[in-house]
Symmetry: C4
Subunit: 263 residues, 4 copies
């Protein structure tokens, strides 16, 4: 075993009501991580466990105080049932995904061991779906492990993924391996250019998620982040054009292409 979970809080002291696991790791547009990090902050979630793995890259991170720490994934929980919620929520995010296929499979199985111990009956994974162009109204694509959940997604106007398209990384694997253990799951992917961290895409994914799981969640902070990113994009478009084409003030149909320069 090249990966292990280290507990910060005593699991026996935590009693979860109908817990749902929501995963958002770094990936396309950082959509999943942005979404889950927002939930951790808004729901005042509690950090209760960490996952370490030999299959993460071999570097370490330094925080604001100059303190060094290992790369890790993090588990947080929010006992929403205490304030009348239908589900308690377990949130999973982290610095990195594993760098190897075997590491990905192993880590996802470790996560599922913990999910089973906590009696998780449903998993949602959040991620991005790269299209190469920026959309003002990003769609949310979805796939799930059974037809009733697919129907549920359709009711919330989630676009169902087309046949054959592979879903790469932990967001697909966690749902796929979870199914083998009898845990149902769905994967929600926000449309995103793929060129930048995309808070707008994270916001639209969370809008669907909170209806599906029935969570109350303020999305203002995420909306503000999205607006800020949009401003930066607009500024970059204005700055970039003259140096590239020498036409600083004309609006044109090439504008959409310009966005592809933002990386």
């Amino acid at each position: 075993m090249k990966s292990r979970i280290r507990f910060i809080e005593d699991l026996d002291s935590i009693s979860m009501q109908n817990p749902v696991l929501i995963q958002g790791l770094p990936g396309v547009g950082n959509v999943g991580k942005l979404g889950v990090t927002h939930m951790i902050q808004e729901l005042k979630a509690i950090h209760f466990a960490e996952l370490y793995s030999y299959t993460f890259p071999y570097h370490v991170l330094v925080d604001n105080n100059g303190i060094l720490r290992l790369l890790r994934n993090e588990f947080w929980f929010a006992q929403l049932s205490k304030s009348g919620g239908e589900h308690d929520i377990i949130l999973l995010t982290g610095d990195y995904q594993s760098q190897t296929p075997e590491g990905q499979y192993e880590i996802v199985n470790l996560i599922l061991d913990l999910a089973e111990k906590l009696s998780v009956s449903q998993i949602y994974t959040l991620g991005g779906y790269a299209t190469g162009s920026v959309s003002k109204n990003p769609k949310v694509f979805g796939t799930a492990t059974n037809l009733s959940l697919i129907e549920h997604l359709k009711e919330e106007n989630v676009e169902i993924n087309e046949s054959g398209g592979p879903i790469v990384g932990a967001s697909g694997l966690l749902i796929g391996l979870g199914k083998m253990r009898g845990i149902e799951g769905a994967c929600l992917l926000g449309e995103t250019s793929g060129f930048m961290a995309d808070a707008l895409s994270a916001k639209v994914v969370l809008e669907k998620l909170i209806k599906l799981v029935k969570i109350e969640l303020d999305l203002d902070v995420l909306e503000k982040k999205a607006l800020k990113i949009e401003e930066v994009i607009n500024q970059m478009k204005k700055m970039k054009r003259p140096s590239i084409r020498g036409r600083p003030d004309s609006e044109s149909e090439e504008e959409k292409d310009d966005l592809s320069y933002i990386g």
Copy 2:
């Protein structure tokens, strides 16, 4: 162990008569997979087991209903002995081959464990032999683990592989590792350009196989697929030429080269 087999049907309830294992996985020209998939459909085979592996790529697939599932290899059987056949048939195909040498060896050994449990005495693997050009009358090349089987191949006009040529991937390994366990085997490779999924090559391989294993099998569906692909090639040849060389209607000796544009 990074791979495992999951049974859908209870093995004890299945009694096989002289079973032969026939493997066709994705590979050159997709010849093996096309062939075995055709057999599964025509023989109305029953899906009885699946193989999962940490050494497959870390993505998942989505089916026509939007349902997500893990990558896997699949075992099917057809009890041809019940309708007078000499052999029952076990068919093996799948989404992917392992991505690592160690995964390839491990998976093949798992398959052989199952083959031994089912008393398989003979294995055929199907694949493609890439030549880089399209042939209207593709040959079938073969190799085997003993001289009597080689003779058998020659009787059916299979071209025997030349000395020294390596056979890459699961079609060679399954036969080679099977030999170490006393299971005889042969590998049949259909000549193919290597530029596209090649139903014609799959058809000629199956024509040899059904004589070698004495199976009755209708090849019409495969033949139709092959004709359809040929049509597409012909259309592409006509479409491609003008844009490349500006000579839309002359037939020439460069025609053969054109095919290399079909990917």
Copy 3:
């Protein structure tokens, strides 16, 4: 286990007083290895153990006598407490770092097993911080596993690493994994161009280290090495310029760029 430690001296016969582990392996500018090798020589340290690993590259080295040996890391100790020092010192250097993430994690854990057995309470790792240009007064950057050690670094005018910057390889991992076992640690990185083995950078790192750990250490040999390298650089600058720009005797602001040609 793909790595193991082989003892040359009997560990039970060695009693260490407040031992501090100092690691300097090959890496950016070879700063860490130059520094620890200098300490081994000046402190007349004793070679007491070696680490071998399947995850090192698969070649061997030949010494001055033509004698062949495996790649390895080496442990040395210097009992400075016997001559009134506050700490005994364990020094770790070697031929290579592991070539795989899993090897890196495994080896660092083996080193920590030994550190625990020897009751090491503090670890310093030495390395280089590549800037791409040669500095006459290289800075020393640092990070640590707790705030009191960070304060200690600041008192000695070590620049604290900025948030987010990853530290790659064994110098970060040893500190990060050590923290998980309750051993505090700091990583000192000398500013270096990254284009050559940098004795000056090693010297400034050791100047900080000996204040932090309170060691008496003569740095003359290292200083002479640094001067020699500087001479070579100056000669190369003079030789290189004419052939590149045809201006052999003008001093100019492009000089700094020139240094990037020294590899």
Copy 4:
């Protein structure tokens, strides 16, 4: 364990007198494999064991009869002591070396397990030393695990390898890991261009080896192979020049460069 040895002959029935292990695997100029294969033929050695490994490439080979087999390394022995020789000889060659560092280390340790079981006290590994140009009088370079063996090499006019030069692959590792188990060893490397299988280099290596180990061995067949290769080179030099420079019959100082075209 991803590798294993399969015995063809019963080891208990073989009593070896002062056995020496001689290894020559595929590598630079194929020098080692050519040399050991020649010894197997001339000494009428007996094939007694085979090594298989998951870390070999995942393909299989086909022999002259069309029979398929797994990649392997092979052990052969020649009981020279029966005809008055000082040593019995164990010969090791094969199709491939492992493709991974861990595989290399694991396989070499398996070989050493067998060597210990057979009471091997000395190991010689044969290989090539690539220089990039063809020499009519290739030198033999050597390294060993102790000074008395180095002296022995010098007496036979083997050039001792210079300090620092790495020796890559199984020929270095077997000697290096053997030393850890108290088995002395030497590595003999024949100077070779590295552009082709080099029978002349294999011959000069064997000339040294048979003096060092005191074996009688006819080198005629190898000499003839070397002459044949030389002829081919000469023909290629004549053929190549016109098409490249248009000067078919002048002998010039560029001739040496020409050889680099032989691949």
